[in-house]
Amino acid sequence: MLGFLVRRVAVLIPTFIGVSLVAFIFIRLLPGDPIYVMSGERTLPPERYQELIHQYGFDQPIWKQYVVYVEQLAHGDLGTSINTKRPVLSEFMALFPATVELSLAAMLIAIVLGIPAGVIAAVKRGSILDHGLMSTALVGYSMPIFWWALLLIIVFAGWLGIAPVSGRIGLTYFFKPVTGFMLIDSLISGQKGAFQSAVSHLILPSIVLGTIPLAIIARQTRSAMLEVLNEDYVRTARAKGLPPSRVIGIHALRNALIPVVTTIGLQTGYLLTGAILTETIFSWPGIGKWMIDSISRRDYPAVQGGLVLIALVVMAVNLAVDLVYGLVNPRIRHVG
């Protein structure tokens, strides 16, 4: 297992170097000028402009900028945001828990609803229930989630007026972040109603973000279950007269879940993509929205650092998925 781990990490190193190089190159290729965005309609005098360009090091030759960048990266320094003038890493860390919380909630919804839906559809194969569930799943899988979010806002906030549509918690609650996870912090704070408020703010965004993973998991679970139900050992178990709930619950589901777990892990990349849209629509203070804002502000250091950090997160999660998969399925350890 250790050898497997070392091999996996070793493969990641060149990828990470590549990722940091790509982020660097992208930023140098970006047209537009953060300094002009900063000054708005009030254009800067040319001397002042030169001064600022120099201050941010944009007047250095590219290779020198790259050397500085790599040196800083090696020290865990991702530069300073032009917009807020704070370190990119601390900006990222301040917002990252919000994205993690939203993603976990979305995955929770997807798993809790998706796996049972898939199992039921597989067991009742060909029934109206199966068709209904799978049609719904396909609609969910085809959903433009930014539009789905707007619809939910129209219905739950506009017509019914029962759901909050932005932020992470009601504005009447006030406590210092301890973990950065609003659900936990609101519980720690001990303030009455704070937890409910945090939950209610989380519901619509996590439904939106969870929709596509939910559909994928339901479909995946169904086909994995169907395959397993046809396997000999399940047939044997059935033939032996074990109760159906036991056959499905213990024998079939456990084996069907192996590919499903991989599917769940593979959703990380999607969750970050979806978070960009979901956070933008629900004003959720996470890294997706931060990246969008940083791109439109041409906040070079923030975009560059953000790309590196997000890629790092994706790689780390994929590694974790590999490891888990390696654990449940020892065959794979010796491949690749």
């Binding site: 537009g32 002042r48 007026g161 009455k192």
Partner: protein
């Protein structure tokens, strides 16, 4: 789903109870964006000022609420020397800086704080000059380095400002956000502890509200300053929540989660006005949106061509479709709320036939041109692309083919300012200090060519009038000069003046004493709430 609805309902109920039960008077303002930082002198965005300079800080001179006139602030009084070069400010005594859990002041405001506040922005040897990236954008933007000769301390409560040349708008400059007075004692303490960056994270000022806490991109909290020199604010707590989506802000206002919101979508305003639980305040903003021709290029160097195109534009359709009624057609380059606005100006009529005739007269046939549309929403133009589409259709009717071009915002600003820009540019301006000089000289003076003068228009007669007006302190005399300048502008038509937007601030009925600020700030120092 039923359980979900139930959960929502109970939560809403719990929220309502929590709000009703609160004894302290609180107000929630849902701002349109996040503050970039907390030291007002580092930034230029109005959003940032709503978080920092307005609640937390004061200036030597303040704008009288609701006007662009100035009144005493931290300076109780001042004298200006007859030659207009020396300003002597007498500071208010007994003004306390905020006591917070990160700073306790040991002395009152004095001349050192005032000198420090400006010295750090202009003096390269000041240790604070380079902190937090050291971009004193507004100080530079208002040409302060070219205007100010020195700041000197006369005694603890007297400060003298010496100028290089007389400049009538200076007093208004000192009422601007970048001129907020910060605490030197706090700065010294942070420098000693090696936490200089905190100066831009945890503000300490003299203003009506004390900074308590800020959660990035989410919410900032303040409490009333009990020692405020102008009297303790009526609100006990102020919350400013970051709510970037305009539709969401309206939603939250209706739900009672926000008490005051800025910039609702024009489309929602009618519904807000008809809502009995809300008050909707409106005022013409201190801005102008315009289409600037490049007067250095053929055929736009011919005033007849510019006039003809102006006549081809159906402004009313733009007001209806782009501003949804929240704008007024502009005939002058300065907004109607500004002194010296020329009432007598007659706007170019909407007259496609006349436009065609005028183009023929100028010998222009089959004109192909570019119309630049900015990619972002601005206070003076809620949707430049839509505006450009309408103008494109209008131009087509007089035989002019317009192509709409756009760039990323920074690129747009850079390329739009270039002297060899190809095409007419949609642009605009929001006033900084309420002085006509800030529009007429900055946007149309010869010095602005290749920069803020997007029409690249240099008219000697106009320029002389405007330059002269800046050196005179008598307002009536200045008004006359500015009116003449506006007449020349209209005659020469370097721009198609399009619209002044109307700023709308909807709020809950319980909010009392809110005053709309022509400069676009949202201030809560005098606001009260009634249950």
């Amino acid at each position: 789903m039923k359980r979900f609805a139930y959960l929502m309902a109970t939560t809403a109920l719990a929220l309502g109870v929590a709000l009703g039960a609160a004894e302290a008077k609180g107000l929630v303002y849902c701002a349109e964006g996040s503050p970039e930082g907390w030291d007002p002198a580092l930034y230029t965005a109005g959003t940032t000022f709503d978080f920092s300079s307005q609640p937390v800080f004061n200036r030597l001179v303040e704008f009288t609420p609701g006007t662009t006139k100035t009144q005493p602030g931290l300076a109780e009084s001042w004298e200006i020397s007859p030659d207009g070069l020396e300003y002597t400010f007498h500071l208010r005594k007994g003004v306390k800086f905020h006591t917070t859990d990160f700073f306790t002041p040991t002395r009152d405001l004095n001349a050192d704080d005032v000198i420090f506040s400006f010295d750090r922005q202009g003096n390269k040897d000041n240790p604070w000059y380079n902190y937090a990236g050291g971009n004193w954008e507004y100080y530079v933007g208002m040409s302060m380095p070219d205007l100010v000769k020195s700041w000197t301390k006369v005694d603890d409560y007297t400060v003298k400002l010496t100028l290089k040349s007389p400049n009538a708008p200076m007093l208004a400059n000192l009422a601007m956000d970048f001129a907020s007075i910060v605490s030197k004692e706090y700065a010294d303490q942070l420098a000693k502890d090696g936490h200089m960056d905190d100066f831009n994270q945890k503000p300490v000022g003299t203003g009506p509200f004390i900074y308590v806490d800020y959660q990035k991109d989410a919410v900032a909290r303040y409490k009333a300053n009990p020692d405020y020199w102008a009297g303790k604010p009526k609100l006990d707590d102020l919350v400013i929540a970051v709510t970037p989506d305009a539709a969401v802000r309206v939603q939250k206002l209706k739900a009672g989660e926000c008490d005051v919101i800025p910039y609702p979508n024009p489309a929602d305003i009618e519904a807000l006005k008809s809502d009995a639980s809300l008050t909707v305040m409106q005022q013409e903003g201190l801005n102008v949106g315009y289409l600037a021709y490049n007067t250095l290029q053929k055929p736009f160097d011919d005033a007849r061509v510019r006039k003809a195109l102006n006549m081809a534009i159906n402004k009313q359709a733009i007001i209806d479709a782009v501003f949804q009624g929240t704008g007024v057609a502009a005939k002058n380059p300065i907004p109607p709320t500004m002194w010296s606005y020329r009432q007598d100006t007659v706007d170019d009529p909407y007259d496609p036939d006349g436009a065609k005739k005028l183009l023929d007269e100028a010998g222009v046939k089959d004109l192909k041109m570019k119309v630049w549309a900015m990619p972002v929403q601005r206070p003076y133009n809620p949707n430049a692309r839509r505006m450009a589409e309408l103008i494109q259709a209008d131009f087509a009717k007089v035989g002019v083919t317009a192509e709409i071009v756009s760039y990323e915002w920074g690129e747009y600003l850079k390329r739009g300012a270039a002297k060899d820009r190809d095409g007419a540019l949609l642009q605009g301006w929001t006033g900084d200090n309420g002085d006509p000089d800030n529009f007429l000289n900055v946007l149309l003076g010869c010095d602005g060519i290749g920069g803020t003068n997007r029409a690249e228009w240099c008219n000697k007669e106009f320029d002389d009038l405007v330059k002269k007006a800046a050196t005179i302190s008598d307002q009536a005399e200045r008004t006359k000069l500015y009116e003449q300048a506006q007449a020349i502008f209209k005659d020469q038509a370097p721009w198609a003046t399009i619209a002044h937007s109307v700023i709308t601030v909807p709020m809950a009925k319980k909010v009392q004493g809110f005053v709309m600020d022509p400069l676009g700030h949202h201030q809560f120092g005098n606001v009260d709430v009634t249950e």
